[in-house]
Amino acid sequence: MLKFVSKNALLLGLAAVGCVAVIAGVNQLTAPRISAQSQAQKLKVLKEVLPADHQDDALLAHCLQLNAVEAFGVSPSRMYRTQVGQSAVYVTETVAPDGYSGNISLLAAIRADGTVLGVRTLAHKETPGLGDKIEIKRHPWILSFAGKAVESSDDKRWAVKKDGGEFDQFTGATITPRAVVGAVKRAALYIKAHPELAAMATGCSET
């Protein structure tokens, strides 16, 4: 009986070791390629919100880590500093916590004076067919942020049209665009109010 049990236990252990060895081997083989791929992907996403002719190969290295949950919806949040023409531009992650169904995670390029260069939606759980028009592949709405500047926290133009602002809402979905507009506005205001970001030391902890 004991012999039978220990034989099975041994076999089970052997199978586990074999499986782990296979996975470890494949992981060793693919790890460098995977990390290169995800770096390239990250850079590609960041470049999407920046002007098309913008070149900055060290963009990912100039990463700032901030603790400002009231402005970016998450803490800590990351932003990447770069230079477009004469002025500093920050590519920042920001989260709209007040979407129709949960968080909407966004990426925005904002100039130091509070002008938005571009916004993209990274992830969301909004209703398919209604709220998902914030995705660039479904609707060009998100492009309407480009070139808009935020003046102050009571800037009337930074709202959906239903609330008297400049941004379109979607038929059947007002909460989603309202949340996105609010999140971009908060991020832009923060960047405008904190010129010291330009001199802040770079460095982000690994995720």
Binding site: L11, R33, Q37
Partner: protein
């Protein structure tokens, strides 16, 4: 040869994992909101099924009966993880659109179901073939479901195919009709259940009709009964 014919018939129709065994409903319903997603998960499942069936059949004589289930689970999890890592490294675009679905395959009962019911009792080649055919059957149901839901809910076919197949595939996208508001229910989770229910009903109806016709051919009396009842 007859064994292979039997495997084809079982996988594609008689014992179809999506319509008859109803195994793996979780990924089936979660990923069938568009044809592209459905095909992606269908192919990935087919690959995993063939690979795990092959491996398990290879070791079937060395795995004692008492511990076979934990060993199967380990083998399946390892194969899926290895495939996920390889896809992440070498087919990054595909991984991006399917990445979240790949781990779902581990939860697909059809994989362990075939390991237990077929691969642990049969030789390597028929096992791999069974995995392929079961996978094809699953993929076909998934694709049909995805196509119906996408047509009803979005009015398109092959939306986002470029994420799966590369940039050239944007030409595949077909805009069937434009409507102000689509039939949203079809894309939402309840739509998956409704459409799958209709598909199963359709299969059963075809089966019943076929059976009735067979009986009609074998016994004349039966034929008269059905004629009377149908008139």
């Amino acid at each position: 040869m007859q064994q292979y014919q039997e495997i084809i018939r079982n996988g594609l129709w008689q014992n179809n994992p999506g319509l008859v065994q109803l195994l793996g409903l979780c990924p089936l319903l979660a990923t069938s909101s568009s044809l592209t997603n459905a095909l992606g998960l269908g192919f990935a499942t087919m690959l995993v099924l063939a690979a795990t069936n092959g491996v398990i059949s290879l070791f079937r004589q060395h795995i004692p009966n008492e511990i076979r289930i934990p060993v199967f689970v380990m083998i399946i999890a390892s194969v899926v993880t290895a495939i996920e890592l390889l896809m992440h490294a070498y087919t990054f675009a595909l991984y991006q659109s399917l990445g979240i679905f790949i781990p779902l395959i581990v939860t697909n009962c059809i994989v362990i179901g075939r390991a237990e019911a077929f691969a642990s009792k049969n030789a390597v080649l028929p096992s791999i073939f069974d995995g392929l055919m079961m996978g094809t059957g699953f993929c076909a149901v998934l694709a049909t479901l995805g196509a119906i839901r996408e047509i009803l809910g979005q009015g398109t076919l092959f939306d986002g195919a470029d994420l799966l197949l590369g940039p050239w595939a944007t030409v595949l996208k077909i805009e069937l009709y434009q409507a102000d508001s689509h039939f949203l229910l079809a894309i939402l989770p309840p739509g998956a259940f409704l459409v799958l229910g209709c598909l199963i009903a359709a299969k059963n109806a075809i089966e019943a009709r076929r059976k009735a016709r067979q009986q009609q051919n074998t016994s004349i009396q039966r034929a008269r009964v059905t004629q009377v009842s149908s008139s």
